[in-house]
């Protein structure tokens, strides 16, 4: 589930507050959004790819927080890794024209 909003990366655009389908974040008066309802996170990773500065990290475990730190996420280059795998960048969609899934369906 969602574990990190990086205050150093965040530009306070509040896009995550708007796009999270489960209303996990709250905007704040001065500063980065906060994770207000963590247990509602459905671990869909969509906030990450909509974030224009790769400031969010959703850990793979859906049942509860893992406690991973921002330092580890930075060191393992995990910020923005799902967006890069898709071909999204700076919160903008891209890459679906290169999707090779049709080859998988043939193999199946």
């Amino acid at each position: 589930m969602i574990e990190i909003v990086s205050a150093t990366r965040c530009v306070e655009c509040d896009i995550c507050v708007k796009v999270c389908p489960t209303n996990v974040f709250d905007a704040t008066e001065h500063g980065a959004p906060v994770i207000a309802r963590q247990d509602d996170c459905q671990t869909c990773f969509l906030c990450e790819i909509y974030c224009p500065t790769d400031a969010l990290y959703v850990a793979e475990f859906a049942e509860g927080p893992t406690g991973i730190t921002e330092v580890e996420v930075e060191e393992r280059l995990l910020f923005g890794s799902y967006a890069r795998a898709l071909g999204w960048a700076r919160g903008k969609a891209g890459g679906s024209q290169f999707d090779p899934t049709h080859r998988i369906r043939v193999a199946q």
Binding site: P21, Q42, T43, L46, D99, I104
Partner: protein
């Protein structure tokens, strides 16, 4: 502090011809179709149109059957797998309309990939891109989009459904949209399983429709589960097509012929489920050739997020797996459709996508991603058109009568509200009956009887005492919807005294010819179950 707060005096009150409830693909297509017919359309979603639902976080195939002589044969072959409950006429019209809408996506400029010969490959939709694209099309069509506006209940003027009301959960005020027709595109019920889309898919539309007098169909078909890395949200079976499976002691899990299992999807889920009831199960995607590994990684990037973040190489490492319950999302139960325009039989109320019963499309077996995706493309279109036509017919009579809100359980309890009846505990109690593999993947009459007793007790508390205040209004209503769906599911499963498709009765293996029909359930507190009724083939509301 939230940035915007509104007082009760800021409540939102709109009028529209058609109101669409939901934010997934069928909601988007319904809104576009209704707007194209000239209707003023509002769309209210619990979350955000573009990220809500099971499609947006996924990468889904479609059931894409181009026109031609072969189409009847393709449909016939697929029908053979549906446990005799699907309807080939619906299957044919679905592939026809879905194909036309896939072409429409291509004309609008959706970035489909190309095949080797340069032709666009339109049979696959990447969820995040598809739903972001659909949001833009909905806005371009002039639809008023209300994100984070969960609906709590439908409104009736005594003759027809005339709108819905709910709360604007970020702004903190109530909303009401008066409409000449309403499309329920609220998705299925995932019973709060932690799967992609699962938080919002609480079956809200089922309860709203049933309160209005609509029936549900196929609620016993909630026995679909999909493999996922243990503890993850990735209920995507495709990579497990090329996997081996092992018990804790390393011994391989065997298939029905005694050979080690090398494909864990489809019917083979039964073997994995049996092993998982006994103890932990591990898998390795070691049946995938290197080229396929690359395509899987590039084509299904969401499936690899859990492995990459957990530091696992799924092609060489053993990793623990689970089967995630998928309720009616990949099950087939939902609101019964009574005519070709996706009407529910309640005047002014239409249904699309996973909110609708999909037995007519895929019977007793799961439609998986592909059939459900095409169903959303087609049923959204029909429901949007149907609602728009109804709105035009009703133009003179609209917005005149006295409006009654229809919400009961979780909103207006029958007796005194009690603070000790909490939404979270209700949901846990329901989950305990409808998600464990040994109760719901493999079912038995005795087990279902016990579950039924417990769910009746949960339901009585919900009906009589559950109510949330403020932000918890939505949570209470979601819990009531989950409780209602669980109760309908177990009751229908008890009624189906046989095994068929994903309904596996260990005490009654094998199909019963006498039950080769759908089960229709009607009523909320007191309900009745009937075999598929005879009805006119074509009848608009």
């Amino acid at each position: 502090m939230p940035k915007s707060q509104k007082s009760a005096s800021d409540n939102l009150h709109l009028q529209a011809d058609v109101l669409v409830l939901g934010g997934g693909p069928s909601a988007a297509w319904a809104a576009v179709a209704a707007a194209e017919s000239g209707a003023r359309v509002a769309l209210a979603d619990k979350g955000y149109l573009g990220t809500s639902g099971a499609t947006a976080p996924s990468n889904t195939g479609t059931w894409c059957v181009p026109p031609g002589d072969n189409r009847h044969a393709v449909v016939e072959r697929r029908w053979q797998r549906t446990g005799e409950l699907a309807d080939q006429r619906w299957m044919l019209r679905c592939v026809d309309t879905a194909y036309r809408n896939l072409l429409r996506l291509s004309e609008w400029g959706y970035p489909f990939p190309s095949e080797d010969d340069g032709r666009l490959y339109i049979a696959n939709l990447r969820g995040p891109d598809y739903m972001r694209f659909m949001r833009r099309r909905v806005l371009l069509a002039g639809v008023t989009v209300l994100d984070h506006h969960p609906a709590l209940e439908l409104l009736s003027d005594g003759d027809a459904i005339v709108g819905a009301g709910g709360v604007a959960r970020q702004a903190g005020h109530d909303w009401r949209v008066d409409a000449k027709a309403v499309v329920l595109a609220t998705g299925g019920c995932a019973f709060r399983e932690r799967i992609l889309g699962g938080t919002g898919l609480t079956g809200d539309g089922y309860l709203m429709a049933a309160e209005a007098g609509a029936s549900l169909s196929g609620m016993e078909f909630t026995g679909k589960y999909t493999l996922a890395p243990y503890g993850s949200s990735l209920n995507k079976g495709l990579p497990f097509r090329w996997a081996s499976f092992h018990r804790e002691d390393g011994s391989p899990i065997l298939g029905p012929t005694g050979e080690p299992l090398r494909n864990g999807i489809g019917d083979r889920e039964d073997e994995v489920a049996r092993a998982l009831i006994d103890g932990p199960v591990y898998a390795r995607l070691d049946q995938a050739e290197p080229a396929l590994q690359g395509w899987l990684r590039q084509g299904q990037p969401n499936c690899f997020v859990p492995y990459d973040r957990a530091g696992i190489d799924p092609f060489s490492d053993l990793f623990r797996i689970t089967l995630r319950a998928e309720g009616t999302v990949r099950g087939t139960g939902g609101i019964d459709i009574v005519s070709d325009d996706c009407a529910t039989g309640v005047p002014g109320l239409y249904v699309a996508g996973d909110a609708a019963g999909r037995e007519i499309m895929t019977g007793a077996v799961s439609g998986g991603g592909a059939v459900n995706s095409s169903w959303a493309l087609a049923s959204g279109w029909w429901a949007g058109k149907g609602a728009s036509t109804h709105a035009k017919r009703r133009a003179g009579k609209a917005f005149r009568g006295t409006v009654q809100p229809l919400g009961q359980a979780g909103l207006r309890p029958a007796a005194t509200p009690r603070a000790d009846i909490a939404a979270g505990e209700v949901i846990e109690a329901v989950r305990n009956e409808v998600t464990p593999l040994d109760k719901n993947f493999f079912r038995s009459g005795a087990g279902l009887e016990k579950s039924s007793e417990r769910l009746e007790s949960v339901w009585r508390d919900v009906r009589d005492h559950l109510r949330g205040e403020g932000a918890d209004k939505v949570r209470a209503r979601e819990a009531a919807s989950i409780a209602a769906a669980g109760r309908w599911s177990v009751a229908s499963a008890l009624h189906r005294t046989e095994s068929r498709g994903m309904h596996r009765r260990t005490d009654l293996p094998g199909k019963s010819p006498a039950l080769a029909h759908r089960l229709i359930i009607t009523g909320v507190d007191a309900f009745r179950i009937e075999g598929t009724p005879e009805r006119p083939a074509e009848l608009a509301s």
